[in-house]
């Protein structure tokens, strides 16, 4: 079974869901906004993860999920938590639910799109560019500096360039 995690109306998740419906694949949609009817229990022993995911009273062994498509957003910005004070039980539940889901996704033997670790390079474009280059792709000529003269020389060399202050 495939697990979809996120907000159902979010475009990429909606598109994947539509494609799965069209192909008749069996999937479970975990609507992040309905976190209050969910629960998860994760155990790791001898390098293997097991556990159960509960949604609306139904319970699923984690081992049954062969793929996970995760588009979870930062729980702090969920509309359902807008009026909840810091440290409220609802916030705590939501945070721990998503954290446990993420922990499981990191170690699950399933195909996961994408694991948090794999997305870490998104936080540094020049770091990511180096990874991309290693796989044989061309990357734009890039300069990072605090020297204005080097910037001027770079722009003179490259007629089409963009600057990120």
């Amino acid at each position: 079974m495939i697990l979809l995690c996120g907000i159902p109306t979010e475009s990429p998740l909606a598109m994947v869901r539509k494609a799965l419906d069209a192909s008749g694949e069996h999937y479970l949609l975990l609507n992040q906004r309905q976190f209050s009817v969910m629960g998860i229990m994760l155990e790791i022993a001898d390098g293997r993860s097991t556990g159960r995911l509960r949604v609306n009273g139904d319970s699923y062994p984690l081992e049954e999920f062969t793929a996970i498509f995760t588009r979870l957003m930062d729980y702090r910005f969920l509309p359902e938590l807008k009026d909840q004070p810091d440290g409220s039980p609802q916030r705590q539940l939501c945070r721990n639910l998503l954290d446990t889901l993420n922990r499981w996704a990191e170690v699950a033997p399933a195909r996961v799109v994408n694991r948090t670790a794999a997305m870490g390079s998104n936080f540094s474009k020049p770091f990511q560019a180096q990874l991309i280059r290693r796989f044989g792709f061309e990357i734009p000529e890039t300069l990072i500096t605090n020297d204005p003269e080097l910037v001027k020389a770079f722009r003179a060399r490259h007629q089409r360039s963009s600057t990120n202050p």
Binding site: I40, G47, L97, D99, F123, P126, D147
Partner: protein, 243 residues
């Protein structure tokens, strides 16, 4: 030149710097995280050519990536205090962190440990991931459990495999060697395998002094162990790895 990157508070890193210098790695430069924000000039390039960088430090030293022969990298965080109070603090911090990840990753090998998307001196993994990897490496591990109903707030408290105060023993992997306490062969092999799985040239592995599995139960791992645990033999191995 060789480089040691660490904090002025990192006694272990400073100890390693002295030890590597004594072992003939010269010239060897100590660059601390505290001095980096005051660097006079940064230049980091990439494109058709290999990634390169040049840093002109406030004391006049110039660190060029092309001249670096090996690096002991123990940078755990990006200095941010000089950005505090600015209107764009959050943005500036993100960009500064992105820059550090990149130039550290551009350091020519050997680098112990290389910057990773999960940490500036190697991956800082969650304990759930470490215990999973340790199990796959064949090390005896305790059962790890986590639930959505747990009361723990990991923004202020870390999860542990053993109760606070449990005595631990640290072994350190450097390349293909393990330093620290005398280890049973199965544990030794597990340590090496864990470092391989973690893609860490240097890895500290903690064991709890418990009764199970001949007293060796995995308790945690870090890319930033106290190197002094391994003593002079560890310094010899580090020097060999970096030379």
């Amino acid at each position: 030149m060789w480089l040691v990157l660490c904090s002025t508070q990192d006694i272990s890193g400073l100890w390693a710097f002295q030890g590597l210098q004594l072992r003939g790695l010269r010239p060897i430069e100590l660059v601390t995280v505290e001095m980096l924000p005051y660097s006079l000039k940064w230049e980091h390039t990439m494109g058709v050519s290999d990634p390169e960088f040049s840093i002109t430090l406030v004391d006049g030293r110039v660190i060029k990536s092309g001249a670096v022969r090996g690096v002991l990298n123990r940078l755990t965080h990006v200095p941010r205090h000089h950005l505090a109070g600015g209107p764009d603090y959050d943005y500036a911090t993100q960009e500064y962190t992105a820059f550090f990840m990149s130039w550290l990753f551009a350091l020519p090998m050997p680098v112990i440990n290389r910057a990773d998307a999960q940490g500036l001196c190697g991956a800082w993994r969650h304990i759930s991931e470490w215990v999973w990897l340790a199990g796959r490496a064949g090390l005896p591990t305790p059962l790890y459990g986590q639930k959505s109903t747990d009361r723990i707030d990991e923004t202020v408290e870390i999860r542990r495999l053993h109760p606070v105060g449990t005595p631990t023993i640290t072994a350190i992997v450097v390349g293909e060697r393990v330093f620290g306490p005398h280890l049973p062969s199965r544990i030794l092999a597990g340590c090496l395998r864990l470092a391989q799985l973690a893609k860490a040239g240097l890895l500290g592995i903690e064991f709890a002094a418990s009764a199970s599995e001949n007293g060796w139960t995995f308790a945690g791992a870090t890319p930033m162990p106290d190197l002094r645990v391994g003593g002079e033999p560890l310094l010899n191995a580090l020097a060999e790895e970096l030379f």
